[in-house]
């Protein structure tokens, strides 16, 4: 693909601006968080053009932002953050993406490497067997007529009420896993039909389960507050989203907003940015449906985490109470939310879009769980399956600059076909095995597409977020076992 030749003005070592004058129609400048090496890579494709295009959206305030894992997406760039005023601003389903509330949760354990490493193969087999994964995977949960509406309204709470997980899991889930304002009547029958058989499934693509070891602790006091105590401690990640239900909600509303744009007199450079005023019937319906999809995703991760706990204890022959397995946190990275932020010294409610970006609220913010009030909201940044993942916390600076947002992952640098040309699934499997990582997957080609080489190094991505001050590194983990959907 063509390189991008637009203007990128250096503000400091980690901030690069696309001036408002770059394209007629930009309402605010663009701002990309990156270091000099990343900028070279970023300009090799059209990500910055997408940052500029997002700046066209009505009601956008301050900047069209891109986090350091920015890469070329559709409509919005992946890693994009944009906040709109409620009075004259818009909501864009493309600014959330098709996998609504794709997100990550992290469970801690009381176990150490030596407890788990000798049993990692049977553990990965048990996890693979208990969590349905892969294209079109079907769940173990049988929803009856009308149940789906309860899932959409209650999210994680529905799961806990039906025996999946612990009540205290809700306290450490973003939005308590139950976003208010979810309106199942705004979710189409087709979306519900897709969602019903898929609840409690991982799906495919970059979704995964990971068994990891704490590799380094940068902030021991903050880490301890999360139950991350020492190097070698075993952790578990779950990464997935809202499955076919979320995809259908996005399809339905992108289409509806493409139709409505003429009515609202909105012209945009890319139809995938289609939007409607936040306060319009279309905008309100989308938000009501999107919150349902977000709740579905939280219920999904909640059910999966329950089976992960069961399989873990069964293979290791221990009781759940002894294993720990507390939920450190669960974050969304594809979502739109109404939040209060400071704009030009004034408190203002805004519709914040995060597409491939994570909320990163600081210590003391009312939306941060009570147990983390003194450290800030945990931020979970999974790397690719062969490398490190990071635990960070939100900062005051993120609140001031990025509407309380930071990066969400490594960010792709290679297309899927390019990744496969370089390495076969078998080669990727062997290379991971040689680094002590046991992998289970239903799809070897899918594995090749997710090879480490296809991604930026998450360490440099997280480094920029840390050095720019929009989040703070607490600890890092490395995988010993991965289930690739």
């Amino acid at each position: 693909m063509a390189t991008w030749n637009g203007p990128l003005e250096k503000i400091d070592n980690y901030r690069w601006q696309i001036p408002k004058s770059y394209k007629t129609g930009m309402r605010v400048p663009g701002l990309i968080y990156a270091d000099a090496d990343m900028v070279k890579q970023i300009k090799e494709e059209q990500g910055p053009e997408q940052v500029a295009n997002v700046a066209f959206l009505p009601g956008i305030v301050d900047y069209s932002l891109a986090m350091p894992d920015i890469h070329w997406g559709y409509g919005f760039p992946i890693g994009g953050v944009a906040a709109m005023r409620l009075d004259d601003g818009v909501v864009s389903p493309g600014g959330v993406g098709f996998d609504i509330n794709c997100g990550v949760r992290l469970l801690r354990t009381n176990l150490m490497k030596d407890d788990v490493a000798p049993k990692v193969k049977p553990l990965m087999d048990a996890l693979y067997n208990s969590v349905p994964s892969g294209v079109g995977s079907r769940g173990r949960i049988k929803l009856k007529g009308g149940d789906i509406n309860e899932v959409l309204r209650k999210g994680s709470r529905w799961a806990v009420e039906h025996g999946y997980g612990r009540p205290e899991d809700l306290e450490t889930t973003e939005e308590s896993g139950e976003m208010a304002g979810a309106d199942p009547s705004k979710v189409s029958g087709r979306a519900k039909e897709r969602g019903e058989p898929q609840l409690g499934t991982l799906g495919s693509g970059n979704h995964f389960l990971e068994v990891a070891l704490v590799d380094k602790i940068n902030e021991p006091d903050i880490a301890r507050a999360m139950g991350i105590n020492e190097v070698g401690q075993v952790m578990l990640y779950v990464h997935c989203g809202s499955r076919g239900l979320g995809h259908q909600v996005a399809d339905d509303y992108v289409k509806e907003m493409v139709r409505a744009m003429a009515k609202y007199g909105i012209n945009l450079p890319d139809r995938q940015l289609a939007c409607s005023p936040v306060k319009s019937p279309e905008g309100q319906s989308y938000l009501g449906a999107m919150r349902c999809a977000a709740n579905y995703a939280w219920a999904n991760r909640q059910c999966i985490a329950h089976w992960v706990r069961e399989a873990f204890c069964q293979v290791l022959g221990i009781k759940e109470a002894d294993a720990g397995l507390e939920l450190i946190y669960d974050v969304a990275h594809n979502i739109a939310k109404i939040e209060e932020h400071q704009v030009n010294g004034q408190k203002l409610k805004l519709c914040v879009h995060r597409k491939g970006a994570t909320r990163a609220f600081p210590a003391g913010h009312p939306d941060v769980p009570r147990k983390y009030a003194h450290i800030g909201q945990p931020v979970l940044i999974p790397g690719d399956m062969g490398r490190l993942s990071y635990v960070l916390v939100g900062t005051e600076r993120a609140m001031q600059e990025t509407f309380g947002s930071t990066c969400h992952g490594a960010g792709r640098v290679q297309s899927r076909s390019a990744a496969k040309r370089h390495l076969s699934g078998r080669e990727v499997l062997e290379s991971l095995a040689s680094r002590g990582i046991t992998v289970r997957t239903g799809s070897l080609p899918g594995l090749a597409e997710e090879a480490s080489e296809a991604y930026k190094d998450v360490t440099s991505v997280v480094g920029v977020a840390h050095n720019a001050g929009i989040s703070k590194i607490v600890a890092r983990t490395r995988p010993i076992g991965v289930i690739k959907g």
Binding site: M1, E45, H71, W72, G73, Y74, G75, I78, G94, G97, F98, D99, G134, V135, G136, R190, E193, R194, P197, Q198, G203, S204, G205, G244, H247, Q248, A250, D251, V254, K255, V258, R259, D270, R271, Q272, A274, R412, V413, Q414, S415, R416, S417, A418, G442, S443, P445, G446, E449
Partner: protein
């Protein structure tokens, strides 16, 4: 004549589909979509589904056509490989689609496709070509 060509996109995948007319290009785009999802070699034409669409314009017709097929796959696990267009104009189509239910013993799924997108979506009437990027 080649039915379609895959196009590179960093995060996702896309295709350009060709045809002797636009209806044919739509059918080939659908074939390409299922070829992204699965190996179609061993898929038999055992079952059929009819799809009828009425949309605002030809671009939305393409977007909805492919997304409706993804819905059918998601709900019924039907792998489709032949698409007979019985009616086609700038804003509507009627097609009978043939294939069979996914059978893990005989079929190999390659990857999931979340959705067709409007990003770079193009319907070229002169050359009877369509282009679409999928979220995978």
């Amino acid at each position: 004549m080649k039915r379609y060509k895959l196009i590179e996109h960093t995060a996702d995948m896309g295709l350009v589909a060709y045809g002797h007319d636009l209806a044919d290009a739509f059918a080939n785009a659908a074939y390409g979509l299922f070829a992204i999802i699965a190996d179609l070699g061993r898929v038999k034409e055992k079952e059929s589904r009819q799809i009828e669409l009425q949309e605002e314009d030809v671009e939305t017709l393409l977007f909805e056509w492919l997304n409706r097929l993804l819905y059918v796959f998601d709900v019924e696990m039907l792998l489709l490989k032949r698409f007979d267009m019985e009616h086609f104009d700038d804003s509507s189509l009627k097609a009978t689609c043939y294939g069979e239910k996914y059978d893990p013993a005989r079929h190999r799924l390659k990857r999931g496709v979340k959705s067709a997108t409007y990003h770079m979506l193009k319907v070229d009437r002169e050359r009877n070509q369509v282009r679409v990027i999928f979220d995978v």
